[in-house]
């Protein structure tokens, strides 16, 4: 067998030591009724070579960012990943270890998480950050749940309609069974940003939190000042959700705006798109909320000789100690992806992160200008954006085939989630979209 090292003689000797003669006797004690139909009906095993060929032909049936010109964002971003990142996460000491429950032989993982927590604090401008959650969507849901724990009496959640639709869906799923929570959807304005007046009006003493995208699903950079003011006035928490973490290298960080909880998706920080997973959810907040936080936390301490070391801490929040009273049910998280992000941020460093963010912003704006002025597309929103924007493409359905023929996926049609945005595409331009690709995009939209 591929991965079991037992030779016939190994088996025989081990069975003899146990006092058995056949492997089947090991499960003799299971009622026959449960075992009699146990055979698995699947094809037999393959050699490693056949496995690679089989998987290679499945892989060949997909449109990759390598062969196609993808202008797709909407929560998952195609960014450059320095080779060092994969070198780091391929170290088997990182990839094949468990959650660091034995700190004496897990300082590598623990220190890396501590560094990750610090980086996420620096990037978001928040005071504390955890070791990561599943993804941006569940992190947003956990943020709302935490707001609920903090503001036990309040029952209203305001979700901006410009928050990622899948994230809104996940929040809804998580809240559905918890009873008595009113979800209010806040509309967006012409700028593409959340309607601040609506928020102002709807945020009252019933509001436990206001949740907005930063940048939001349309790529728009929200002005958080009026929202923060409304929340402060009403005693509600302000939660921002960032699906494009690279933007935070450039944008005023949530902590600076007075945001209470800053969550988001970390995929953009050195993790391949991989059809949307695995990435990780990040979760940062004010220090005073730390004992209400979901997920793992690593803290600094000393060993028996007084040397600095790191341990999992405040675990009394967690399911393995607190069971049904835990702040979350999360156990396995997305640690190796958080490590990739740590290596990515370290590799780019302060100036590299800011530079890359600027390159994104620059290319996206130049592209939009060309699409508007050369290809005659109408911008849908007037607000400032980072690296994605929405344009109106008249007759999109009919024009789509031209793009597919040229191996271009020019953007994400929004009508599926926003019936009011027929023929609107969310277009993302990153450093991975070469000048010639943008040229082709403009040409194809121009009808050439």
């Amino acid at each position: 067998m591929r991965y079991t090292p037992h030779t016939p003689s190994d088996k025989e000797q081990m069975l003899r030591a146990i006092g058995l003669s056949r492997v089947e006797e090991l499960f003799d004690h299971i009622p026959r009724t449960l075992t009699e139909r146990s055979q698995i009906s699947l094809p037999p095993g393959l050699s490693e070579l056949e496995v690679k060929r089989t998987m290679g032909s499945l892989a060949a049936k997909n449109a990759t960012a390598q062969d196609w010109h993808l202008f797709l964002g909407g929560g998952i971003y195609h960014h450059f990943i320095p080779s060092v990142v994969d070198a780091v996460i391929s170290r088997s000491e990182f990839s094949t270890s468990y959650t660091p429950y034995q700190p004496e032989v897990s300082q590598g993982t623990l220190q890396a998480i501590y560094e990750f927590q610090t980086l996420m604090c620096q990037l978001t401008g928040m005071e504390v950050a955890n070791a990561g959650l599943y993804d941006g969507a569940s992190a947003a849901a956990e943020a709302v749940l935490m707001a609920r724990r903090i503001q036990e009496r309040r029952r209203r959640v305001l979700l901006s309609r410009s928050l990622h639709p899948q994230y809104r869906a996940v929040i809804a799923t998580y809240l559905k069974n918890l009873g008595g929570i009113e979800v209010v959807e806040a509309p967006y304005s012409n700028s593409g940003a959340t309607d601040a007046e609506f928020i102002s009006a709807a945020t009252d003493e019933r509001a436990m939190c206001v949740v907005v995208g930063y940048p939001n699903f349309f790529g728009i950079i929200e002005d958080l000042a009026p929202l923060q003011a409304a929340c402060a006035r009403a005693g509600s928490l302000l939660v921002t959700v960032t699906t494009e973490p690279l933007s935070l290298a450039l944008l005023r960080p949530p902590g600076d705006w007075g945001v209470d909880i800053s969550v988001g998706e970390g995929q953009g920080l050195g993790i391949p798109m991989s059809l949307g997973g695995p990435g990780f959810g990040f979760f940062a907040c004010r220090k005073k909320f730390v004992r209400s936080m979901p997920g793992r936390l690593v803290g600094e301490t000393v060993d028996s000789d007084g040397r600095r070391g790191f341990v999992l801490t405040l675990s009394t929040r967690e399911q393995h100690i607190r069971r049904e009273k835990a702040t979350s049910n999360i156990c396995t998280n997305q640690n190796l992806c958080a490590l990739a992000a740590t290596a990515f941020m370290a590799a780019l460093g302060k100036s590299g992160m800011r530079r890359l963010a600027k390159i994104n912003a620059g290319r996206a704006h130049e592209s939009r200008d060309r699409l508007v002025h050369e290809a005659g597309l109408a911008p849908v929103f007037s607000g400032p954006f980072f690296n994605e924007f929405v344009v109106k493409v008249e007759g999109w359905q009919q024009r789509q085939a031209r793009f597919t023929a040229k191996k271009i996926a020019p953007g994400i049609p929004l009508a599926r989630w926003y019936p009011e945005l027929q023929d609107s595409l969310l277009i993302c331009v990153t450093e991975m979209n070469q000048k010639e690709e943008v040229e082709q995009l403009v040409q194809t939209f121009s009808g050439n």
């Binding site: 067998m1 959650t99 049904e324 999360i330 156990c331 396995t332």
Partner: protein, 493 residues
């Protein structure tokens, strides 16, 4: 520079934090000829000027930092890692190679499905294969881990019961259950009713009957349970639950013990989750990512999260219009990269390989159980499945605890078993060798355990002050929790 005294092991000492290294203005990022620009496009009030404290290192520094960090870890590829309930089996290298193919790693999730038919086929086929292995009818791959699978499964149950008029209020959870079971129940809006295992470590139908009412939505059972024992009354228990209109949820974290031996689908189970990062060999990554697919019986299929992948002839489509569905629990398709690895594993092994896997997992556990029996106190005398539980009862006489034994094992170069779990066993040492370990490794581990038992008698202090050879000694966890320092901060001056 402090002088290393003899025996000091610099070779395994921790490097400074990335924030404590480097030099202002340094960067490994090199991108000539394009500054990027935000001029005029983004108002200043929306921008930041700096990321205070962010690292400034060169490329070699970064690599050396993480390489040296890695060298402080134990891991499957370096050490035997018999961590009970975690199934620390070999994570095949070929899975890693395959998952990195651009045809998988460079896919955007919002690409039109007709352009990613290879991925769709893989997902569809993986659902089918997991259904076959577990004996269920329909599977969703969306949950990101076991706990999210539990939540998903419970939501399916709740939606189903609600559809019948009453979502009910409670979930029955055994005292041996993993902490995620009650936590997920609470997160799904349920109260938890605990049911106790008997003195032979398993649940009895009559105990369940005592608490099973029409207020109970479901029973969550782990089988084999966290004691490594097969819940042989599961069928009767299921009947008790079903009779009162409740459903049976199986925590399938221990599926590694069952493949080709018994299918949950034949046990009266209605819903289960599977940890691909356990049974299906995807790497644990120091804590994740994993994946927690959920399987259900046909009647519950309509309640699974959207989108569903459906086959139309030789073509695969996404179905979003599922009115009964609980909705989404995660963005996009779940942890696709993990699903690719698990699929690779399944086709590598095939049915015969999967069956041999569980058999050898049982053989290894029972062999270790035999070798340690007598010297260590065995918590339950029943035959075990894929893991076995000892306690420190015998060593306690010398004041040596489970924690001490665990720490001393580190000196022998072995990762310790899971300790102090499950909670029903005082001082538990929960040993899960997995099937990928050789007899010689099991023997070496057994010898180490026996040696520690001797040390506990002859020189208990040696054991109680262990570990003696790790990069750091025992760490002060109380101090960490008392005054949490959760991030680096620049020295204020």
């Amino acid at each position: 520079m402090s002088k290393p005294s003899p025996g000091t092991n610099r070779l395994r000492s921790a490097p400074p934090l990335i924030f404590e290294s480097g030099s202002p203005g340094r960067s490994g990022f090199f991108w000539p000829d394009e500054e990027g620009s935000i001029s005029g496009w983004i108002p200043n009030g929306l921008l930041r000027e700096d990321i205070p404290g962010f690292p400034e290192l060169g490329e070699l520094e970064v690599l050396r930092h993480f390489t040296r960090l890695s060298q402080l870890n134990f891991a499957i590829e370096g050490q035997f890692y018999p961590l009970g309930s975690c199934t620390m089996k070999y994570n095949p290298k070929v899975n890693e190679v395959v998952a990195r193919l651009p045809g998988f790693s460079l896919l955007h999730p919002l690409t039109p499905p007709e352009l990613i038919q290879g991925a769709m086929e893989l997902l569809y086929d993986l659902e089918r294969r997991l259904a076959e292995i577990s004996g269920m009818d329909a599977v969703t791959l969306q949950p990101a881990a076991g706990a999210q699978g539990e939540l998903t499964g419970l939501m399916v149950i709740r939606a189903f019961l609600a559809g019948q008029g009453n979502p009910r209020r409670k979930i029955i959870v055994p005292d041996t259950a993993h902490g995620t079971n009650p936590a997920s129940s609470a997160l799904c809006g349920y109260d938890v009713v605990q049911v106790s295992s008997n003195d032979r470590g398993i649940i009895e139908a009559k105990k369940v009957a005592e608490v099973m009412t029409e207020e109970v939505a479901a029973l969550m059972l782990t089988n084999p349970n966290t004691l490594g024992l097969f819940e042989k009354n599961i069928r009767e228990i299921a009947d008790v639950v079903h009779q009162k209109g409740g459903l049976v949820y199986l925590d399938g974290a221990n599926l590694n013990a069952l493949m080709g031996i018994a299918k949950p689908g034949d046990m009266g189970v209605d819903v289960l989750h599977i940890n691909l990062h356990k049974t299906f060999s995807t790497p644990h990554g120091g804590g994740g990512p994993g994946a927690g697919p959920v399987g259900v019986k046909a009647v519950l299929g309509d309640y699974l999260p959207i989108p569903r992948i459906v086959r139309k002839d030789d073509h695969f489509e996404l179905e979003e219009a599922c009115p009964k569905s609980i909705g989404r629990v995660r963005s996009f398709f779940g942890n696709f990269g993990i699903l690719v690895r698990a699929y690779t594993y399944i086709i590598s092994l095939g049915s015969d390989g999967l069956e041999e896997t569980s058999r050898m997992a049982l053989l290894n556990a029972n062999y270790l159980r035999k070798r340690l029996e007598g010297t260590f106190h065995l918590a339950y005398s029943e035959p075990c499945m894929h893991e076995c539980i000892f306690t420190d009862r015998i060593q306690q006489k010398q004041g040596v605890t489970t924690l001490d034994i665990a720490k001393r094992l580190l000196d022998y170069g072995f990762h310790p078993p899971t300790i102090y779990f499950p909670l029903v066993v005082a001082g538990a040492l929960m040993i899960e060798p997995t099937e990928t370990e050789s007899r010689e490794t099991l023997d070496a581990f057994a010898e180490a355990m026996l040696s520690i038992a001797r040390e506990a008698k002859e020189n208990p202090q040696l054991v109680k002050t262990a570990p003696h050879s790790t990069p750091v000694g025992r760490l002060d966890e109380a101090r960490a929790a008392r005054k949490p320092v959760l991030r680096w901060e620049p020295l204020k001056d």
